[in-house]
Symmetry: C2
Subunit: 240 residues, 2 copies
Amino acid sequence: MTRASPFRQRGSMRGQSLAERVYATLKQMIFDFELLPGDYFSEAEVAERTGASRTPVREALHRLRREGYVEVHFRSGWQVVPFDFDVFEQLYDVRIVLECAAVERLCAMSEPPPMLQALRDIWCVPGQARSFDPAMAEQDKAFHTALVTASGNQEMARIHRDVSERIHIIRRLDFTQATRIEATYDEHAVILEALARRRTAHAQQLLSAHIALSRNEVRKITLHMLHEARSRHAQGPPEA
Amino acid sequence: MTRASPFRQRGSMRGQSLAERVYATLKQMIFDFELLPGDYFSEAEVAERTGASRTPVREALHRLRREGYVEVHFRSGWQVVPFDFDVFEQLYDVRIVLECAAVERLCAMSEPPPMLQALRDIWCVPGQARSFDPAMAEQDKAFHTALVTASGNQEMARIHRDVSERIHIIRRLDFTQATRIEATYDEHAVILEALARRRTAHAQQLLSAHIALSRNEVRKITLHMLHEARSRHAQGPPEA
DNA sequence: ATATATCGACTTGTATACAAGACGGTATTG
DNA sequence: CAATACCGTCTTGTATACAAGTCGATATAT
């Protein structure tokens, strides 16, 4: 079988391996609903699509499997893990636990980290200065990730990053409504206020409510979006 | 190259793949200090030792890499990640955060889960009924894992299990002293008491102190044990 | 003697060949 | 016609071949 669209780098690899790029490509396809939850596909299909051989494809797939995005059926192909809202809600709750712990540490610090002011510059702004582009989801993710990273425990930050990445696929859907974006700005602002004043319990309560609200909103939207995606793309799995 | 000691199953694989067994074997070797932190080794060596080819070996190694046990140097071999006590302490702190969150949920439940009584049967026993075998570390791990699992959030339980597994290599060292085993029994007992009486804050405080104590004890012991291991095994990496 | 250039053994990354089981369609048998 | 056995196709798991780069030892030049 000849390589289809060999997006291999010339010379050699420039920092990232072929397996890593296949990994990123596949995850992007899942996030873009180009591969729908429940879809079946084979390693050979992915190899042909990406222009790589099965070896790096398998490495990428097994990594995605460990991370919960796909699963393998013994000698019967791969499948995008179907949505399980219970799992997503549990992951939201993990976020609440980790981020509240981060808040406790942040408030206990002798001096507030400079990162806090940087966040205030972004989020504590009047209505006309607010951004509404589709990259809002990334900014929101960056906000919460920054809180945990600044708390000082890098292992906790790594775990939190993985959890955030995992629910990013549905969290994005929360930023398609203008009212939800407004609410995000408002809530981030008051959280940062409470943090600046070292009101630990208050900040934790605001943060918990903020995440829980997002969790509940997303559940409603996801079903709708999934339905739309199923209509746009035909039912054929990876061959768009 | 012919297979050395092919511990491959006859017929076919009975549930677990070759890659998984190589993974388990390597992790065991690391836990047994047969592969010491800092040791260098190659895929070919592991393949010869385990009787598998490089393919499943690579899969096992990359999984261990994702989990933080080994790292790969581009075309220069693999290395057991050297001990980093800062990382271990951070992981201990993650355990405190997760297990305290579990306690909060357990105390908030309308009725205590039956697992609580099972744990009391094990840990709330008089001195002569206590076990002192080397499997204590596993029992201790099971205690803490059970708390988080019983709290209901399975994703949190999975993360907690990974963290516990990661620090298990040094946590075992805490159970080589009889006084530490005694303390573990005592502390588990009072934690279970507080849980049964739904004293949330008290149980959290006891649990935090219990984990923090273990964290501090282990740091002291680890250096000693590492020194001993280095003396027993020669300096040659995997070829014992 | 010392510094440098070159070469070769060894490493991982990737591609391909082979093995063994799953699954569905088809032919066969009642 | 219905049920069943069989066989070919397709799948992943594993082994091996090839590619490209690293690193140290050795020889050479200054």
